[in-house]
């Protein structure tokens, strides 16, 4: 028998709690429950989809998405208003998130890295969106809150299809 020496996911550890949170978030996004997704965020949180995969300096570069609380609220409003053609007729998505690593743990905040594979089905075509995720999660008395989420698509420098959903 081989000892795989992989620790079982323990939801009591910071990494385990973060994993449970990220899976919950992924489920909300696939269900397009954007109101509930919006409530996961701390007021100072940033949702970022950079163009340059290697960048950490998001504010001085052009991104696909660089949302603070205001822009996130507007984005959710747009996606749920029924007036956006691309959102009203958006792709059905199924995503899995795995390959979790604890990148940082400081005080009540952790940073976890993971891999996301997302299939989006629309009008006869299924499109793959693969990317690295970085979540910064703050554990508060009211439960965990997202302080940053960065989605680095493998093909971020390429031409993407226009999206009516969130990564």
């Amino acid at each position: 028998m081989t000892d795989l020496s992989i620790p079982p996911a323990d939801l009591a550890t910071p990494l385990g709690r973060a994993m449970a949170f990220v899976w919950h978030e992924a489920e909300l996004l696939d269900r397009k429950d954007y109101a509930a997704w919006g409530a996961l965020w701390s007021a100072d949180g940033h949702y970022v989809v950079p163009i340059d995969r290697d960048s950490e300096d998001f504010v001085s570069q052009l991104n696909y998405v660089y949302d603070d609380a205001r822009m996130r609220a507007l984005r959710i409003e747009r996606l749920t208003s029924g007036y956006s053609m691309s959102a009203a007729d958006s792709a059905i998505t199924v995503r899995t998130v795995s390959r979790f690593t604890l990148a940082k743990s400081e005080g009540d905040e952790v940073e976890v890295r993971s891999a996301q594979i997302l299939a989006a089905y629309k009008r006869g075509a299924t499109t793959l969106f693969a990317g690295d995720l970085t979540h910064r999660i703050r554990f508060t008395a009211d439960g965990p809150q997202l302080t940053q989420k960065v989605v680095r698509l493998v093909n971020s420098q390429d031409a993407l299809n226009a999206l009516g959903f969130l990564l």
Binding site: I51, L62, V65, S81, S86
Partner: protein, 429 residues
């Protein structure tokens, strides 16, 4: 009395020119792969095609790779500061010599057999050259070179070495290019990154869209709801009589959405600076005199118009829109963000945030545009005898003294200009 809609559906012996009729267009223009192939030969291989902006190549050796039609090319600045547009294709067996989108190089070397080329495209070396003694002359085998023209920092290239000078081709559009560049507010305009996305539709569907004011409040309702009242008011041109579309000849046209921002140098001081930019105004006021602060902040949304240059680039308020035809039913779009070269960082960042808000695959505007365009492509397959209409505003279009046709910004004057040029170019064998 209404004029009857006349349309003669395509017949076996119809020529390309027959497909563009009196303000209606045959849907085959969107769907026929043979027409697409002809467009690559008769339009993209014959006219001036935009390839880059000079700010993308500030130093000798700087390059960016792109396409002219379907052909991969490299735009590069050589050591003598001359700009070359070279086919990205080794003269030996055809491999691309550059796979990076941009960078700095001392030359280009083919990965297959190491033929190496200078920044000017000259073949500099090839390994084990004894097999070529008395077979080839290196001087005969440079990277194929396109004709280059630069106007106001806009770099164009053409496969047609006999083509008219770029200035003549741009004609009446030059005045609008000059106006567009005033958004640098005293600084040279520079590119600041780009969004790239593709849609399943013909390139002309995007070409039409740049001067299509009619779609704006419909398709972009959620964008308009998401901006502040001042910006929304600025973009409410539907019933503004000063908001016009103007044909500029050679397929070019311009649509004015914000008449008071057509010439950003003209400022009577009556326009309040937008409240949403208060933090920028406040920060700039520490370093710049009030008139320059006003000029920079008034320019943050760019120029008050979309200038459409046939066939592949638009100078659209605060960005460049570049289209690349990939196939009859696939088009790639780049939205290039602009800023002030050497200008204040806080204002350049604000411009990035404005760009992210509307543009790109995740923007509040572009995905809804792409959705509409894909619907056009899908629907155009229905009914060969049903024309595409580009006749809006014919009842109120008038001709200016310089020959430009003018109508309201929601009218299809710009599209008619583009299709007139299409017809002219496609008629030449």
């Amino acid at each position: 009395m209404n004029a009857p809609l006349r349309f003669h559906p395509r017949k076996a012996d119809s020529s390309c020119a027959d497909l563009v009729q009196d303000s209606v267009v045959d849907p085959a223009l969107y769907t026929d792969p043979q027409i697409f192939d002809l467009e690559m030969d008769r339009i993209f291989a014959r006219t001036w095609v935009w390839v880059a902006h000079v700010s993308e190549l500030p130093k000798p050796g700087d390059f960016r790779s792109t396409f002219v039609g379907r052909n991969p090319v490299i735009v590069v600045r050589d050591r003598k500061d001359e700009i070359h547009v070279l086919e990205n294709r080794c003269r030996h067996r055809g491999a691309t010599v550059c796979e990076k989108t941009k960078g700095n190089a001392t030359g280009f070397t083919c990965p297959y057999h190491s033929w190496s080329y200078g920044l000017d495209g000259k073949l500099r070396g090839l390994p084990y050259s004894d097999g070529y003694d008395d077979v080839i002359e290196k001087a005969d085998l440079p990277l194929n070179s396109l004709k280059v023209g630069v106007y106001a920092g806009m770099i164009f290239a053409s496969y047609n070495h006999e083509i008219e000078p770029l200035e003549d081709f741009l004609g009446n559009a030059r005045h609008w290019i000059d106006l567009f560049m005033k958004q640098g507010a005293g600084f040279p305009v520079k590119t600041q990154g780009e969004h790239k996305f593709s849609f399943k539709g013909n390139w002309k569907i995007q070409l039409e869209n740049t001067t299509d004011g009619y779609h704006f409040p419909v398709v972009h309702k959620t964008f308009l709801q998401s901006v502040d009242a001042e910006t929304s008011e600025m973009l409410s041109f539907m019933t503004d009589e000063e908001s016009i579309t103007r044909s500029l000849g050679n397929g070019h046209s311009v649509m004015v959405m914000v008449p008071e921002h057509v010439d950003l140098d003209v400022d009577d001081g009556s326009e309040p600076l937008q409240e949403r930019f208060a933090h920028v105004t406040e920060a700039l006021s520490k370093d710049y005199p009030p008139e320059q602060v006003r000029r920079i902040v008034r320019s943050l949304h760019g120029a008050g118009f979309n200038l459409n240059l046939f066939p592949n680039v638009a100078m659209s308020m605060s960005f460049f829109r570049v289209l690349r035809p990939v196939a009859v039913d696939e088009t790639e779009i780049r939205h290039v963000a602009l800023g002030m070269d050497g200008g204040p960082e806080i204002a350049n960042r604000e411009r990035l945030r404005i760009h992210e808000h509307f543009q790109g695959p995740f923007g509040f505007g572009s995905p809804d545009d792409a959705e509409a365009w894909e619907r056009v492509q899908a629907g155009a397959h229905a009914g060969r005898d049903v024309p595409i209409l580009v006749n809006r505003g014919l009842n109120r279009e008038w001709q200016d003294a310089n020959g430009d046709k003018v109508s309201h910004s929601t009218d299809e004057t710009g599209m008619r200009e583009a299709y007139a040029m299409w017809k002219r170019m496609m008629s030449n064998d």
